[in-house]
Amino acid sequence: MVAAWYQFATTVWQIASESAIWVIISLVVGGLVHEFLPSSRFRVLLNRRGHSAMAGAIVFGACLPICSCGVIPLAVSLFKSGIRLGPVIAFAAATPIINPAAVILSLALLGPQITIAYVLMGLVLPYLLGVVTERWGSHNSRTLLASDDGSATVTDCCSTAVSCCDSDTTSGHIAVAPEDNTHSLGVRIAAGLRWGFSDLGPTIAFYMLIGVLIAGVIAAFLPPSWVDTYLRESHIVALLAAAVLGASIYVCAVAHIPLVATLLAAGAAPGVAIVFLVTGTATNLPELIALYNTIGKRTVILYAVSLIIGAMITGLLVNLWLMPGFSPVFDPVASLELLDAGQRLQPTVGTVPSLLATVALTLLALLGSWRRAIAYIGRRRSSTGGGCCSD
């Protein structure tokens, strides 16, 4: 029991401390995107009909070294700034799956064939996810926001423009700042950062906190040998287990490629390894829960199911292509050089910035929880006739 608690605590801390700096950076960028994007030409570019907007979002995402937790604020702010659902989802999926460091590491340790499959999967799967969610996903969250007059933040039950009686606000939607280009650059930057850290940040951090706690519980009860148990087989159940487990736990591409490499060398099916790598990096519970409550329930269910099915189909195809007898072959010296190159591309964050970002993220999560509690009490009061909404 003590070991399980220890595992829970270290997993929670690890996910939070690894992703915190990227979430904070993403909140800064997301706030600026929200302030400046609606009036810029870039919005027109990202909202173009057809395939180019989706392809652009995937290429842009593939160049960023951000994990699946760090991409949430940026994806939500793009969505709330009026970007089409398809490119937003494609961007959110492509960013954590593929980045230059991960591709180089994959080439160094998994060999050229798996790397080709990984890159193709990392480019095609986000595109398909974008198409599916745009076609069948829920677009109503943004519609509700567009009708919001939106200058308010939920700080007090009765004194804000968006009150506790507004179900939209209390269900996790974030108020949109009115588009105004007349202010100076400094005022607009301040407004963007205020939106990022006052409106978006607490909401995202609150849902991330729930997801991180659930991920901690899963890690505490998952046996340490699960990798050997599930990822060494090649049948469809192993593919499903790799996809579902990968989508639930926190996996960072750069950190998990060496792990996948040792599994492959020990005889794991290449399809299973790649399914785990792609679903694991594409998403995790904190991300799914945050997106579920901000972008839309139907969209996220479609996203998760399509990701798992798409990854499984690709895994089967990779198995058909490379099995039986696949063994990654590479030159040891060249591999070490590539490992060095990959690690040079991977930004390292110092301990102090990482700790400060974790504290900031925790404070945002506490603020988000406080607002939820206030909103809940407000709803309870109004339902019993004593609240500000009863008149």
Partner: protein, 122 residues
């Protein structure tokens, strides 16, 4: 002992020293008390010494070179150790159980491959 075997013997001795270094690193990764910056420096040292040994090995003829399989296993172990170096929790290294179990398995494979190589040389 012929010169080629002597050189191979020396190279294997260097790899065995690296094996001891990696065993110590894995112990440190598991104890949850090793400062991250120290672990990172030692991991880098492991990689650089491995690279040096491999480059020296390259200069010999193919028949006199160390087994490629052994070197590949050590490269994989080096990559796993670097992944462990990224698992810092505050100031210390704390690795998740799945990574720890893979590190131990890989270490066992490297030690086994070293024993096999030593058996072939002697």
């Amino acid at each position: 002992m012929p010169l080629a075997s002597e050189q191979q013997h020396q190279a294997l001795t260097r790899l065995e020293e690296l094996d001891l270094l990696s065993q110590g690193l894995i112990r440190k990764a598991g104890d949850g008390a090793t400062p991250a910056h120290i672990f990172r420096v030692e991991t880098r040292m492991y990689r650089e010494l491995l690279r040096q040994t491999m480059l020296t090995d390259r200069q010999r003829t193919e028949a006199e070179q160390l087994p490629q399989n052994l070197l590949l296993e050590m490269v994989r172990l080096s990559a796993l150790l670097h992944a462990a170096a990224d698992c810092k929790t505050g100031y210390v290294i704390i690795c998740p159980p799945d990574l720890m179990s893979q590190l131990r398995l890989q270490q066992a494979k490297v030690s086994q491959a070293l024993l096999l190589a030593r058996g072939k040389v002697e």
